[in-house]
Each structure stands twice: as C-alpha cells, then as structure tokens.
C-alpha cells in the first residue's frame, strides 16, 4: 500500500519507514506520525463505528480532543481499547484494530441501528427498558452492553508496571505551544525552577501545525531552537508526552507521563507510564484551544474534519485527507486552512463561508453567505451539498471537508476548583473565569488570545509576573509574529432538513436529541448532559459541549452564559487505571510485615494469615493432618497438656516514660496504673471518650518512671495516635515521653504447665514462682547474658510467660525454644490456637472489641475506676449504658455436643419467632474446643449475667441454622485461675 495522500513537508522522518497494521492490513508510516496521520497518508479515512448508531467514522481532529477515531492498540494482554488514533505515536510493529463493528469495519451488522435511529433518541434506555424489573440484569443489560460501548477489555492481567513520582518547582507550565515556550524561556532565564509539560510527543503545540513565522524562522523551527535552549538549562525540566490531568489544592497537580507508549513494549524494568504529583508554587496554563465543528446534516462522515486539524495534518505530517478539499467556516481561521492547503498544492474546491463581507481568498472559490446543508458518501465523504447565498443549492464533489465553528480556549484545568468559565461575546467562546486555582495564570489561546504574537506576549508576561511574585526580574524580548484579529460570526448549526446533525459524535448526540431534551424539560445544563449523554465518555465533549449548550440557549431563549456550562473535572484526558495504582498491585499491593519467627515457620510449612500488614502463623500442619482443625486441636491440647510457643511480636509495644507516666496511664486507662509496683504488669482497659471500649492489653512497670504498654495488633497505630493526642492536646505539660518499640523486640509467649521448666533452661535468672510471680515483669538475660524482658502474663489461661529479645535474635530464640522444648514435646502454635484458648478462657478480642461495647457489656464494668478521671469514664456512667437488660458477655455451648455454632447467630428464646423484637443478642466468636469436645462461643446477650444456666436458641437465618444452646459462664476453662498462678 502506498502513502497516496502523503504530500511534501511536515515534521516526519521520511528517511525511516515504520511498518504497522490496521485491522490486519499492513501499512507504512514514518517516525513523527500518529496512527491517524499515517492511516490518512495511506488514504484510510474510515477508522471506527459510532457508539449508538454504528455510523462509519473517521478522525474529526488531530489531537487529544478526538471523539471518533478510537481504536484498540496492540494485542494480547497489552490490548488497550478506546485509544485515540490521533495521539497514538506510531512505532514499528504497531498493531491497531477498529472497534464496535461486526463482522468488519466496512460492513457492520449493527449499522441497522442507524436505520432505526428514530427509536434511539435521547432517553431511549430510560423509556424503553423500564419493565419488567427482572429483565434489567438478565436481558436488557447484556444486550445493551454488547451493542453499545466501544472497545473491549482483554480480561488479561496488565503485564506492564507503572511508577509514581513527585516533582517540585517554582513554576509549572502546562502546554508547550508559543505561550508555554515563551513563558518557559522567560522564567528559566530568570532562574526559576520550571517544569514544562506537554501532552504531545513533539513540543511546540500549534507552532508545529502552522506556517506562521516567528522572527526570521518558521514557527516550528523557532520552537525547536527554543526547546534546545531550554533542554540545556539545569533549572528547567522538559516533560513531553506528559498530560497534566488535574489541579488539586495548594498547587498540587497530577500528570501522566507516557514513558513507554511509543515503544512496542517498555524497556526492561521501565514503567509504561508514570503518575506525577507536581508541587508547583505557581502555574501557567498555556493549554491552547480546541476547534469546534458546526452541526449540519450528515456532518459525521469520514473525511469531514475540523479545519484546523486538516491543516495540521498537512503542515505537521505532510498529509492531505483528500485530493479535493472543501472548507466550511464561520471565522477567519477556517480561511487559513484553505490557504495553507492550497499552498501545499492541494486542490481546494470551495470555501463555504457562512459570513458575508470581508476579503475574498485569492485563487480559491470562496462562497460567502453559504452553508453546507448535507453531505454524501456512505463510508467516506464524496460530496457536500451547499446552499449558496442566493438560496440555490449545489453539490460539490469533495473527499475532504474542513469545518471550523470557532475555537474553544482549553479552560478545563481552571475549572478544577469549581471556577465557572465566562462567556466572551466577541470570541463566541468560554474563557477562564474568576476563582481559578490560586497562583494559576492563563496565557495564550487558553485565554482566548489566538494570535501568535498574543500567545508569545501573554506567555512572557505571565512568566514575568510569576518571577516578580518570587522577587525576581524577568525581562524578555518578544520575537516578531503574526497578530491577526479573531473574526467570527456565531453559527452553531445549520437549520435545514429532517436528517440528523451531530453535535457530540462520540455519544451520537444530535440536534434532534437536544430538541427532545428541551421538549421533555431536561433543559438545565446538568440535566441536558445526563439525559442526552452530551459531553460524556473519553472526549468529555471537548468538541461538542459548547454547541449543545448554544443550541439549548437558542431553544430556551436564554443567552449562553445564562444557560451555563458544566464544570470540568479531572482528568483532562482519560487515564489508565493502572497508573493510578502504580506499583501497588498484586503481591505489591501493600508492604508485608514479617515476624521474627517467619523464616523458621516457613521452614515448618506454616500457614500464614494476614493481620493488617503482618503475616502471622495461623497454624502449622504436621504430616498426616488433612484439615486445619486437626492441627489446631493438636496445638491446643499439647499446649494445655505441656507447653506451647507463640510469636506475639505483632502486639503493639509503646515505651512510656517520664515522672508523670503513671498519672498519664491513669488517665488513658479506665483502671489504675500509678499504684502498680515496679516489676509487675497489669491488664489495662482503654476506653474511648464516649465510654465504649477502645483497646486492651497489659502494661508493665519496668522502673519507677518507665512503663511498657502493649496494645492489640490491630490497634497499635491508632492507640499511639490517641496517646499522642492526650499527651499533646489534653495535658501538654505532663512529663511523659513515648515511642513505639513494636518491632525492636521479638516476643514469644510460652504457655502451658511446663512453661517454667522450658524457660528455666534459657533464662539466666531464677524464675520460680517466688522469684517471678504471676504478673511479674522485668529485665532478665537469656542464653548466657543476652538482655531480654520477661512478663508473666497469660492469654491462654495457662501458666505463661512472654519473653522478648532484641529482634535480631528472634530467629535464634524460636529455634532455641523449640530445641529446649523438645523434651517437653513443646508445640509452636498459631493464631487459630491462640483464638481457641482465649475463648476457652473467656478473654475478649476482635469480635467482642467491636467499638460498640462497653466495659460493662464485657463483664469488666468494675475495672472502670470512678475515683479518678480517665478518658471515657464519665460517659461510661451514662444511664443508657448501664441498664440491667443491656448486653452482657456470656458463654455458649450447644445442647447437643455434636451441633455446630456459628458466629453472628442471634439469641432467641425457645419457641420465639425470629423477629427483631425477640432478638436477645448475638454470638461474637466461636471455636471448637478440643478441651470440652464441642463448639463453644462467646456472645453478647441481653441481661446475660442473669441468664447463666438458661437454655436458648442460636439462630442464623442466613445459614439457616437453628441450634439449642446453653448459656454458661464465659470462662469455660479454669475459671478460678489456678493454672495461671501455678
């Protein structure tokens, strides 16, 4: 296939040829091409089918505003649907496929929708798929999803990676056209730290698409020279292929850099894209402007483009869309397209100018006061029907039509803080409104200053202002450039005929749809958008919105500013989900925290469970065990029979020191700690200020002014935060210092009748009951002098200790404990066994510490000291939280030992109906107790303390389980605590 539509000139490297395919057919292009420019060069105008009517479509534009030319790029897992061919940088081996057509792009079965268009008007879905309700998910949605929508996902995991990065600057310049380049030059010469970002792979903006001179050079050459100077400056960072997608508070901008999208695959280790978080003291928005079309019948045929895009293809890429080109314009800029194309030797057959008066273009058939009223050509434009000034119609053979309805300044980012754009009557366009993000200045065409001179000047002036704000001088000299005025006469749509005239080509929204929306009173701009889908999807109405708005203004008899505009939100252009996730996905979703015994446990084949970021041993199966229950039952029985070891490093540890540490603890705990003797520890209950239980744990007094607090694993971070709040905000002058030491110590629980015998082999000091009694705590040494901490505390109900050594020795200690425990048949147990033993003992944990329960609910009401003020004490005394029929912690066993219990089941009286009124409470935690040989549970039961011994039912309507249960004491095991004190 030859590049039949390639003409001379352009910023492409003709010395090199790139091979690519579209729908399987091979084509050739050059470096510097986009997929769109290369296809057009090869005479391909048809690139896709429309969303609703499956109309044949080609590119409308040459940039990121493209509504039509959406293709699937690449194949396999790297398939990317809905990619705009107009910004897809061509590379050797690129494969592209058209979308939303079957069986082929040229013959699409669903183009029948086009014939049935009278049914598919605005609100079609709302009106049609109303009933029966059951049909929605099963029938309607699958049909709609297949018919509508554009590209499809590969459903394979994205093989690429994405980075996140941070940049800091004095000045962020968005857009590297004439305004942005001049601003960058001025600011960076003044010594400012500048970031210049542009979505294009070739910086220069419209200078690359125009033939204007700047000074003595062509605009594109001036841009190249300027970029070369900027690249040499250490205080300026050029970021091509980088779209600034959003403005956030206090000068934070998001930007997506397409690092590898122009390569077949990313280089090894490199990300596909990088999400930048740019911290900018100041910002200049020089995002340029976007041309808009005019609505007329059948204005969506392949070959009909924006006039400025038509000349961009010619000037930048050396491509003409057709060999007989017509232009339809309501402004002077459209005339420029005719002149430029003619200068490149393209046959410009007519300029249809809706205006009357002014100079006629030399050497071109310039039809003033004329309008395009219809077009011909099923799969591509063949002719345009023109109504001349004298009212006669004429059909002109043409295979390309450039349409210009004027230019919309790209104000999008100014709106990200909800600033409303302002209507400019002379420009017939929205310009940036007040209340743009602080420290953001607009320059160039983004402000509606469309001439090259005005762009250069406003860019330089904006940079000078920023420099002045930072206390620097920034003189500048402007090069000579054209300064043509903007002349436009509003024309939004050509009122003619009964056919459809497209406004929003991506969503197939036509003039008729706007009229229908008005008729049905969806006239408010926000209603209009949602009723018709105007301005939705990947292009966000960059070309169509203003026309839709203008039309609604006409219909309602309001002005355009009265009609308003929808506010732009981030992102400016579509953003791949992957880049928002960055590296945080799959195994790297979050970092892991590994316990000191992790390596040893892995060697034993331990099963791990995620607890927050921690990986804890859940149980350790032994050979022959086929279910987790077998392992857990063994671990429990072995611990209760002899001794078990468990890694409890994950519990939060907070070192609290200072002469007021005891006072501080008295205020943050419901019970008292200032009276705790040195060398002892105590169970502590922490309340929230509303009186509910916040956390619990044991706290040890290591020295007169030195405590070590433990928290639950889950609450370690928020307890520390809370303590800092108390220390800094409530009692700022208490002498208290705190720091977390959770990870500094490897801590193991050693529990069971033989715990002391085992530890005595390791601890250097005497740990007899007399020397180290129940609830003792202190510094010891192990294995011949290594500093360690020992706490005689128990979560299991057994004689138990927790032994801690500096973490680096944690691996060696678990091995040592196992080795020393061999003679006692010691077992290492995991969190499941921990859970079984704590429930057997009636200790509260996750299911009971649910944030909605008081100390009284837990049977710990007496722990709340009323002799002192502490967080939550006052509120815990509220009448409503102290009712005799409130929830109380109870134990539960099934009447039939073979029956199973399930957590979440509700208590009901025998014979009571399962209704909310009869609900007595619920089972909070349930395990199988190998000690009792049946399921046991803890639960909150109304007036539960008065119902011990009662028989009730545990009912779970979800799992349809209804079990008779006995309400018992929550202390299933050793209720008097003899084993603890052994």
């Amino acid at each position: 296939m030859t590049q039949s539509n390639r003409i001379s000139g352009g910023q492409i490297d003709r010395a090199r040829t790139l091979n690519f395919t579209f729908d399987g057919k091979p084509f050739q292009g050059h470096p510097g091409d986009t997929l769109s420019s290369a296809l057009l060069a090869n005479g391909v105008r048809l690139m896709g089918r429309s969303f609703k009517y499956h109309r044949p479509r080609g590119p409308l534009s040459a940039g990121s505003e493209e509504p039509n030319a959406l293709v699937e790029l690449r194949s396999g897992a790297r398939t990317e649907p809905n990619t705009r061919a107009t910004v897809a940088e061509l590379f050797d081996g690129l494969t592209a496929t058209s979308q939303n057509r079957w069986p082929s792009l040229a013959f699409d079965a669903l183009s029948i929708n086009d014939r049935l268009n009278i049914f598919f008007t605005a609100g079609f879905y709302y009106k049609t798929f109303m009933w029966p309700a059951a049909f929605w998910e099963k029938v309607y949605e699958p049909i709609i999803r297949r018919a509508a929508g554009l590209g499809s996902l590969s459903r394979l995991e994205d093989p690429d990676s994405y980075d996140k990065a941070f940049a800091h600057c004095d000045l962020l310049i968005i857009g590297a056209g004439p305004a942005g380049l001049m601003a960058a030059l001025t600011a960076s010469r003044a010594g400012l730290r500048v970031v210049l970002a542009d979505e294009d792979f070739r910086m220069g903006g419209r200078l690359n698409a125009e033939t204007h001179a700047i000074g003595d050079a062509a605009g594109a050459d001036w841009a190249t020279a300027t970029l070369a100077e900027l690249a040499s400056l250490p205080n300026l960072r050029l970021m091509p292929r980088t779209t600034v997608t959003g403005a956030f508070d206090h000068g934070i901008y998001s930007a997506v850099e397409r690092v590898s999208d122009h390569l077949p695959t990313p280089l090894p280790g490199k990300p596909r894209q990088t999400l930048w978080r740019i911290y900018a003291a100041h910002t200049i928005l020089a995002a340029g402007a976007t041309e808009r079309p005019i609505a007329f019948e059948n204005n969506d045929r392949p070959g009909i483009l924006l006039a400025g895009s038509l000349r961009a293809y010619a000037n930048r890429w050396g491509v003409t869309v057709g060999d007989r080109v017509a232009i339809f314009t309501n402004n002077d800029d459209g005339l420029r397209s005719a002149s430029d194309l003619q200068a490149r030797g393209v046959d410009v057959v007519a300029v249809i100018d809706s205006r009357i008066g002014g100079d006629l273009l030399p050497g071109i058939r310039h039809l003033q006061g004329a309008q395009v009223i219809d077009t011909k050509g099923r799969l591509g434009l063949t002719g345009v029907t023109v109504r001349l000034a004298n009212g006669k119609t004429e059909t002109i053979a043409a295979n390309a039509l450039g349409v210009s309805g004027g230019w919309n300044p790209n104000v999008n980012i100014t709106s990200h803080h909800r600033s409303k754009p302002q209507w400019s009557e002379p420009l017939a366009a929205f310009i940036p409104g007040p209340d743009a993000p602080p420290n953001l200045i607009c320059a160039g065409a983004a402000t509606g200053q469309f001439s090259t001179h005005a762009a250069l000047k406003s860019g330089a002036e904006a940079a000078r202002q920023v420099a002045a704000a930072m206390g620097r001088q920034a003189p500048y000299v402007l090069p000579q450039a054209e300064d043509a005025p903007t002349r436009i006469t509003e024309l939004w749509h050509v009122p003619h005929g009964k056919g459809r005239a497209w406004i929003d080509q991506q969503n197939d929204v036509t003039v008729k749809d706007i009229k229908l929306a008005h008729l049905e009173n969806f006239a408010h701009v926000e209603h209009l958008k949602r009723y018709t889908t105007l301005g939705m999807a990947t292009d966000q109405g960059k070309t169509g919105n203003v026309i839709g708005l203008a039309l609604m203004a006409e219909l309602t008899g309001q002005t355009i500013p009265e009609t308003g505009t929808t506010v732009y939100r981030p992102p400016y252009t579509p953003v791949a989900m992957g880049v928002l996730a960055g590296r945080s996905r799959g195994r790297d979703f979050k970092p892991f925290r590994l316990t000191p015994s992790h390596t040893w446990a892995s060697e034993q084949g331990a099963i791990f469970v995620e607890v927050g970021n921690w990986l804890r041993t859940q149980w350790i199966p032994r050979e022959g065990e086929t279910t987790w229950r077998q392992s857990v039952d063994r671990e429990v029985l072995q611990t209760r029979h002899s001794v078990g070891i468990c890694d409890v490093t994950t519990l939060g540890k907070i070192d609290i020191q200072g002469t007021d540490a005891g006072t501080f603890l008295d205020r943050v705990y419901a019970n008292t700690f200032s009276t705790l003797p040195v060398g002892k520890c105590r169970y502590g209950l922490m309340l929230r200020e509303d009186g509910m239980v916040f956390d619990d744990g044991t706290t040890a007094r290591m020295a007169e002014h030195e405590y070590v607090m433990t928290t639950t694993t889950a609450n370690a971070v928020i307890v520390f935060r809370h303590l800092e709040f108390c220390r800094q905000c409530l009692w700022p002058d208490l002498d208290v210092q705190m720091i977390s030491t959770t990870e500094a110590w490897a801590q193991y629980s050693v529990a069971g009748p033989n715990a002391r015998k085992l530890l005595a082999k390791i601890v250097d000091q005497d740990i007899s009951d007399a020397a180290f009694p129940y609830m003792g705590a202190g510094s010891v040494t192990v294995c011949g002098g290594l500093r360690a901490r020992l706490f005689r505390i128990s979560f299991s109900g057994e004689l138990a200790y927790e032994i801690a050594v500096p973490t680096r020795y944690g691996d060696a200690l678990i091995r040592k404990l196992v080795e020393a425990g061999a003679e006692f048949d010691a077992v290492v147990y995991g969190t499941e066994t921990l859970g079984v033993m704590r429930i057997e003992k009636g200790h509260v944990a996750g299911g009971e510490l649910n944030g909605q329960s008081s100390a009284l609910n837990m049977g710990l009401g007496k722990m709340v000291s009323k002799k002192k003020d502490s967080i939550g004490m006052a509120m815990s005394q509220r009448e409503g939280m102290n009712q005799p029929d409130g929830y109380r912690l109870v134990g539960v066993t099934p009447v039939d030992p073979a029956a199973s219990l399930s957590a979440g089941s509700h208590f009901l009286d025998i014979g009571a109906a399962p209704t909310a009124e009869n609900d007595g409470g619920w089972l909070t935690s349930k395990v199988y107790s190998p000690h009792l040989g049946c399921d046991i549970a803890l639960g909150y039961l109304r007036a539960g303390d008065q119902k011990i011994g009662k028989r009730m039912r545990a009912v779970n309507l979800l799992t349809k389980v209804d079990t008779e249960v006995d309400i018992v004491s929550p202390h299933f095991f050793d209720p008097t605590g003899e084993r603890l004190r052994a």
Partner: protein
C-alpha cells in the same frame, strides 16, 4: 549465645547493585531514642555534650563521637553509635544522661539501607515527596516510601540513608529495587 540475623534475615548484611545505584543494608549500628524530660533541657544538653552526643535541631542529622543523632519529634532524637562498642546503647546513654532523658532502645526497630548513586534525584523523586534537591546535606525527615514510614537522611548529593520498619525490610528493599531498575 544466640546468633543474630539482619533485618533481611541473613547472617551478614546484603548489598544490591542496580546500574550505578548501590543499596547496602547496615547492621553495625546501635540505636536508641532520647527524649528530654520536662524542665531538664539544660541538664540534658550538658550531659550530652560530655557524652559526645549532638542534639541537632528539627529536620537535621548531626555526627559526633561516639554518638550521632537526628531529630525525630520535638524534644526527641534518634541516637546511633557503633554496635560493636554500644550494643546495649540504652544502658550507655542512661549512665551518661541520667534521669534528664527518657531513653528507649531502638536498635532493632528499623532496617537501615544506605543508598549511593551518582544521580540520586531520579530515584528519590520516585520514592518520596520530599524536595531533596533543595535540602542541605544532613537533612533528616520522616517520609513515606512504599506506604511505609521511613526516616530519610541526606548524607550528601549522592548518598542517602533510610531507616525503615524492620519487619518490612524485604518489602522496602523490593520497592527500592524496582524503583532503581526503572530509572537506570
């Protein structure tokens, strides 16, 4: 005696080289936090001076002999000393500072990585939101790297030190490695 392991779980510290970037685990330093007790600033400053312990201002790391230190929060510093001579660093500091300070052993709370590269900026700007280019040598701050709270010290234009949570040493190293590979 028990055999110690590094945070990465090895007997000796590891070094990873990716392009011109070197990431080295350090295992030869003891750490403790030192916090001044109420009204004891003068006592602490005096004792610290005698002990060879610098007490730098906010966001700063200062070297000394035998102790170096960086500021971590108002009235609190993280102090480091050679592990070989100061394994029980808290005991050393307690005897030097008395009850003017609250001292907590932190040696094994963290994993330390020293990172060296001729051009650090491409790496650091993908790891942290701190504007390191404008910070002087000796700048020290807590920051977030790969969701983890990490102390970062800018030793020089080509060297930084990270103290991350020890339990996440492998995750942190993984994040450093993939980032280094993406900028080589």
């Amino acid at each position: 005696m028990l055999k110690p392991l590094t945070a990465l779980g090895h007997e000796a510290p590891q070094t990873v080289t990716i392009g011109a970037c070197t990431i080295t685990e350090r295992f030869d330093l003891a750490l403790a936090s030192v916090a001044v007790r109420r009204g004891r600033e003068k006592d602490l400053v005096k004792a610290a001076k005698t002990a060879g312990l610098p007490l730098p201002g906010p966001a700063t790391f200062a070297t000394g002999t035998p102790y170096s230190a960086f500021w971590i929060t108002p009235e609190m510093w993280m102090v480091q000393a050679p592990f070989a001579s100061h394994e029980d660093i808290a005991a050393h500091l307690k005897s030097a500072l008395g009850d003017a300070a609250s001292i907590t052993e932190q040696t094994d709370a963290g994993v330390r990585f020293d990172i060296t590269a001729p051009e650090l900026a491409p790496l650091t700007e993908r790891l942290t939101n701190l504007d390191l280019a404008t910070k002087p040598d000796g700048f020290a701050a807590r920051t977030v790297i790969d969701h983890l709270g990490v102390y970062l010290i800018k030793a020089s234009g080509t060297d930084i030190t990270l103290y991350g949570p020890r339990a996440s040493a492998q995750s942190l190293l993984h994040a450093l490695e993939v980032t280094a590979r993406s900028v080589v």
